[in-house]
């Protein structure tokens, strides 16, 4: 986009660092297609940050789409719903993509996708009813983090939160589901923006998009310029595409110029950042009462035969989704859930899709290879790339020396593991791995 039209915001304060990653949005023009109902889904009881849910069904139970199958009384959590209709086959531990064991409910589908009779649009007239409804919907951040949305939106009303940022930046390469959401479900986004704004009393709404998505820009511009927007409180912000523009702290800085201090949340500086697909889901839920049972995914990468954007029931087997996309065209060297910068490499495809997964990417042997790791030459590429002003090479050095004081002083825990440092390192040092290690080392030290 060469010229930014009047009334459209640009970043208040430019984000430092970051990296120019190849966008590779190959699937941008592919409409989201629904996969055939899977024969079986495996639904883990923890697909969010916070307390895991306890299964409320037992093997042999009949369940239908949208019925609660897991819940907890803990606040930071989100209920889990059946995503297909059929019979509960098993309730037990499975190995999650990150290698941790978690309870899961396996449902054998009857192929009918019967909706649960208890589903009805929630009655929402005020803030409390709204937050209750959001919790009941089972919504977690669909952008990848999986933070329960009712917790994020449930800030105390006297906390002086003034700005809602709707995040449509989608700065990770390959992923296009948020873009498709803008194009295909713009009405949902429109109604979400104004509903959330009015119910929670935001003074301003900023819808953020990167400049490599002109079509999404046009759609969102119409939303921001809508007649509902009394007093012009909803604005579109276009950002120069650069990774990791879409990270929460970066978004807050771009939209308001405020910096979220280490260890704090956007709410502490008066902002809430919400993924565009999450927002669109909220308005759909308010209309239909159908909880979060399916989601869109980008399936792409050099080893996938027919890259697609697909809509799948949560808990669908990843291998089945890949088969739906024509299977592998070459032997895969690496498969990840999420984007290539922050996604998780998985050991096999016999794993369920989680609420927060936004992509499945499979790469051939060649793409799976990294450059050989050599010694750090202190070129400073990592420090230049870090959007949070850290110096990763120094953190590595301090971690190797177990110098806890220095590690804390130079801000190990500020790192959000965006991967910009490791991406730009010429010596091929797995810096994010070191950051994770450093955090673990500090946790261990604190526990002593």
């Amino acid at each position: 986009m060469s010229k930014i039209p009047a009334g459209v915001l640009t970043a208040v304060k430019k984000v430092r660092g970051g990296v120019a990653v190849d966008h590779r949005k190959n699937t941008a023009d592919l409409e989201v297609v629904r996969i055939p109902t899977p024969e079986k889904v495996v639904i883990p009881m923890q697909m969010h940050i916070g307390a895991p849910c306890e299964p409320v069904v037992k093997p042999g139970d009949d369940v239908s789409v949208g019925q609660v199958i897991g819940d907890t009384d803990k606040f930071v959590s989100a209920p889990i719903h059946a995503t297909v209709s059929g019979k509960v086959k098993a309730v037990g531990d499975i190995k999650m993509p990150n290698g941790i064991l978690a309870k899961a409910v396996t449902i054998e589908s009857d192929g009918e996708m019967r909706l649960w009779e208890g589903i009805e649009p929630p009655k929402v007239t005020n803030r409390d009813e709204f937050l209750k409804a959001v919790r009941a919907s089972g919504l977690v951040g669909l952008g990848g983090a999986g933070f329960p949305t009712h917790v994020k939106l449930g800030f105390s009303p006297d906390k002086n939160i003034d700005t809602l940022v709707i995040n449509a930046a989608e700065c990770e390469p390959f992923i296009t589901v948020d873009y498709r959401e803008c194009i295909d479900n713009s009405w949902d986004i429109l109604s979400a923006v104004y509903t959330i704004k009015d119910l929670l009393g935001f003074k301003n709404v900023v819808i953020a998009v990167e400049d490599n998505k002109p079509e999404a820009f046009n759609v969102l511009k119409r939303i921001a310029d809508n007649e509902y927007d009394v007093g012009d409180k909803v604005k579109l912000m276009v950002l120069k595409s650069r990774y990791p523009q879409g990270a929460e702290k970066m978004m807050v800085q771009s939209a308001t110029g405020r910096k979220v201090p280490p260890g704090k949340l956007p709410a502490d500086v008066g902002c809430v950042v919400m993924n565009v697909a999450s927002a669109a889901f909220v308005s759909r839920y308010l209309k239909t009462g159908k909880p979060l049972v399916s989601r869109s995914l980008t399936v792409d990468g050099s080893a996938i035969a027919e890259p697609k954007n697909v809509r799948v029931p949560i808990g669908t087997n990843i291998g089945e989704i890949i088969d739906f996309c024509g299977g592998f065209k070459t032997e895969p060297g690496k498969i990840i859930t999420g984007g290539p910068m922050m996604g998780l490499a998985i050991v096999n495809t016999d794993l369920p899709v989680l609420k927060q997964n936004n992509a499945i990417l499979a790469f051939d042997k060649n793409d799976a290879q990294f450059k050989k790791q050599t010694d750090c030459i202190r070129c400073g590429s990592c420090a230049a790339a870090c959007p949070l002003s850290l110096t990763p090479t120094n953190i590595v050095r301090a971690t190797k020396a177990k110098d806890y004081e220095t590690m804390k002083r130079i801000g190990v825990n500020v790192c959000m593991e965006c991967g910009s440092c490791a991406y730009s390192c010429p010596a091929g040092i797995p810096l994010v791995q070191y950051m994770k290690l450093a955090k673990a080392v500090l946790r261990e030290e604190a526990a002593k």
């Binding site: 990296v19 990653v21 190849d22 390469p173 702290k249 910096k259 979220v260 201090p261 280490p262 704090k264 291998g319 032997e331 895969p332 060297g333 690496k334 498969i335 990840i336 290539p340 910068m341 922050m342 996604g343 998780l344 490499a345 998985i346 050991v347 495809t349 016999d350 790469f363 799976a368 290879q369 990294f370 450059k371 050599t374 010694d375 030459i377 202190r378 400073g380 420090a383 959007p387 002003s389 850290l390 110096t391 090479t393 120094n394 002083r409 130079i410 801000g411 500020v414 593991e417 991967g419 490791a422 991406y423 730009s424 390192c425 010429p426 010596a427 091929g428 797995p430 994010v432 791995q433």
Partner: protein, 329 residues
Amino acid sequence: MENEKLFVSASPHFRSAKTTRGIMLDVIIALVPALIASGVIFGLRALVITALSVCCCVFFEWSFRKFILKKSNTVGDLSAVITGILLAFNLPSGIPYWMVIIGDLFAIVVVKQLFGGIGQNFVNPAIGGRIFMLLSFSGAMTSWTEPHTGFMNLAGADALTGATPLVSEDILPSVGDMFMGIRGGCLGETCIFALIIGGIYLLVRRVISPAIPLSFICTVAAVMGIYTAVKGEGAEFVIYQLLSGGLFLGAIFMATDYSTSPISTKGKIIFGIGCGLITCVIRLFGSLPEGVSYSIILMNILTPLIERITTPKPFGTPKKEKKAKEAQA
């Protein structure tokens, strides 16, 4: 589907194409104009010395790691080639060959490998080697060859020698000759034009940031300007100060060495200013012929300290806390 052959790693799953070898290759390319200039100005012997120095550095790095340290072979990262070129560039073209070999040995083995190899050395190997040679072979190291004594003249020590403009001001070359490098001096340092071309290449390729070269050269210009104003010398004095000695070679290629200079821009500027000040003090008040090498090596040693005070605070660190922490530190 089970797949035992999937590669699992921490994110990110993409890496840039940038490699250490690529960066070093860029530096070598940037040094080529100055190498050509040295051949034109000082003749074949300049090229022979550079080639010898490169071969020795590579050989010492390979053999010392293989037979003494019993570590991996790191010759492929090309950093030893750069040390070889830079050390040769800091020698007069008449230097005896055996001295070059000893200088390379010191640079690679003592300064670089004994401290852990690439990225671990705390002073620049080429400068370490040069200063070692300056102290050990003072005579040979300060017998400057006159330019254009014949391309094929390989005689070395028998070549005519003259003083550099820094030592004697009796026979000053013109400013144009100074800029093009037609003067006595170390073989790679004289052609400012070629060095600037190399510097621009490094900036365009983003191998170096302009912070150190600019702050270094500007500081020298400023201090020499003040000195001229106080002493009442001509403005030409400042220009000759900038164009003579190893200022451009040092500022562009040696002070910017990654492992021995600060990472943050603020730190780089402090580093450059420090180099400039020490260079001026040595040139104006010291008894040494040239201060660039010493200034860089002294600032190399100060680098960890500069790093400590200039490392940026993590994103969003409140201002107050910042001050409190600084007071603590």
